[in-house]
Each structure stands twice: as C-alpha cells, then as structure tokens.
Symmetry: C2
Subunit: 151 residues, 2 copies
DNA sequence: GTCCATGCAAACTGTTTGCACGCGC
DNA sequence: GCGCGTGCAAACAGTTTGCATGGAC
C-alpha cells in the first residue's frame, strides 16, 4: 500500500466523504491481507472487529474506495468480484485451471500494448487487465494440459 | 466461423447431443453477427425466428456450445457475459468507459507474454484475455479521460 | 445541527434448476 | 419408444437500494 492514514484522510475529505470506523476497518482488512478478497471475505474479516458491519456497507465502501482509486477490482471470469488494495506495482494474474492457484506477475509488455493502442487508435488507456489461464508447472506435469498455445 | 454444418453435427453426435431446431438457431445467430452478444440479445434474435424459445434454453445451449468449443465467452467486468462464435483469429478488447464502444484488436505481444510466462514459471498457457479500458479517440477529446497511463 | 453513512430487509439482475411434456434419434 | 431437450416458473447468488436511525464533522 502506498497511502498513509493521513493521505487517506485527505483523500476522503477532498471527496467530501467521511472516514468512519467501518471504512477504516475495511481499508485495514484490504491492506493487511493484500490478497484478492471478495466482498464476503472482507465482510467476514471486519465482522471479527465489529460484528455489526453489514455486507451492504462493505459493498458501498468498496465502491467508494474504487472511485477514490484505493482499491482495484478484478472480475475474473464468472466468479464473484475480488478486491485488493491499489498502489502496488501493477500486476496481472495467471489462474491454474487444474488446481486453482493464482500466480501474479508483471510484464512491461502490457504497457507496450497500451502504447501500441494509443498510437494506432488514438485511445487513452486507463486500465488494462490481463488474465491468463492454463496449467501451472506441477499440474502441467501431471498431464492436466492440452497442447494449444496462447489463444 | 470455421465449422461447417456437418462438422457441427458430428461434434454434437460425438458428444451424444442432439442438434435441435433451437440449437441451430442459436448457433446461426452467433455466426451471423459475430459481435459479442449477451444472452438476452441472442434470445431476442432467435425469438424472431421462433418466439417460443426460452431464455433458459439460450443459456443451456450457450453452456453446451462453450463445452464443445464452438463459442467463446467474455466476462468483461461486472457486465453480463458476452458470447461470440469461436474459431476466428484471437483478439482482445478495448472498452470505452465513456461511450461503451468496444474495439477489437490483435497483438502479438500477448502471445509473447504467454511465452515469457512459460519460460519463467513453467506454465502451460491455454487462454489469455486482455481487456483494456479507457477512452476512445472521440471521448478522450471531449475531456472524458484522466492522465494516468496503463495501470 | 447538518448531512452523510449505516443497518436492515427487500428489490434487482443475470443465471441456473426442477419438473412435466415433447421431440430427435 | 427411450431419453435428452424444452418451456415455464421458481430458485439462486451476488450486488444494489429505500428508508429511518445514528454518527462524523
């Protein structure tokens, strides 16, 4: 995470938003485990601190944090949306279709694609999500995969 | 599309599936407009031929076609899933966040990412989805965008 | 004191499923 | 004729929203 508590507070004030107990807890939960949590998982965690927090508040807060640029949302496939605190270096996701493992990686190539697009189409790129699926090293060995390549 | 009607029939038989009127209509609709249709749009189209086809059948058929490898599914963001007939050259999507326009593009860079990953992690890549968002040329001009780059 | 934020429950959306009938093979 | 496929409606999951109360500023 790259935002100090004061920065967060400033961000909130600038947006005319209040930094409530609930919102702090949700931010905390996201920062502590910077895994990819879904709304329910976040709800479970913050409920341990304050059992009265409702799932609706979690959703509303996540929407707000997304608008403030403090969290990123990944909607990988049909699964529920997953949230993680923003500000880390950009990264992309590989999901193993056999064991479900998620590997994060970074690559400058995605940035290149953005630049390529900007030049070719006059587009202004703000987000790029790359989601790669396949079989991880272990699962590929045990015969999980087929022989086609990047599709 | 790359499958002739006979190939399709063979595929169905091999899977022990029947090629019903409804399924043909749905395949047709997908092949004719190889845009990215959502289930409801497909339903609307096939209803023009047979008003009795139910949305449930559309969903069931799409699931089947996905299993047979005849259609591809794109779950871009929170929006509803979109389907298109498979077999065309791989391509990726840019969505304009202002006007909703979808631009398709292809780039060898994604394949490179796959190769990079294979080498680095021993992964076998079978799918790669790249979803770029931002503002298209027109919307960027009219001040829709902010100044951050590929994230 | 003013509003924004919250909790609750109900609404909503996209998708799936149980059931009895109908049709492809 | 056997069994998969269908239409219908109800169920479902994740997410959003209306409303009255409560809390940040």
């Amino acid at each position: 995470m790259c935002e100090s508590p004061e920065q967060v507070r400033t961000l909130f004030r600038a947006a005319g938003k209040r930094l409530t107990h609930q919102r702090e807890l949700i931010l905390d939960a996201l920062e502590k485990s910077n895994k990819h949590l879904d709304a329910e998982a976040i709800h479970d965690r913050v409920k341990q601190e304050d059992p009265d927090i409702s799932l609706a508040t979690v959703y509303r807060t996540l929407t707000l944090l997304k608008e403030l640029g403090l969290v990123e949302v990944h909607s990988l496939g049909t699964e529920r949306s997953r949230y993680e605190s923003a500000g880390d270096t950009p990264h992309y996701h590989f999901t193993c279709m056999a064991c479900g493992k998620v590997i994060e990686f970074d690559t400058p190539l995605v940035t290149q694609v953005g630049q390529e697009l900007s030049e070719r189409e006059g587009i202004r790129v703000t987000e790029a999500h790359l989601h790669v699926r396949g079989y991880c090293a272990e699962c590929a060995k045990s015969g999980g995969g087929r022989e086609n390549d990047v599709a």
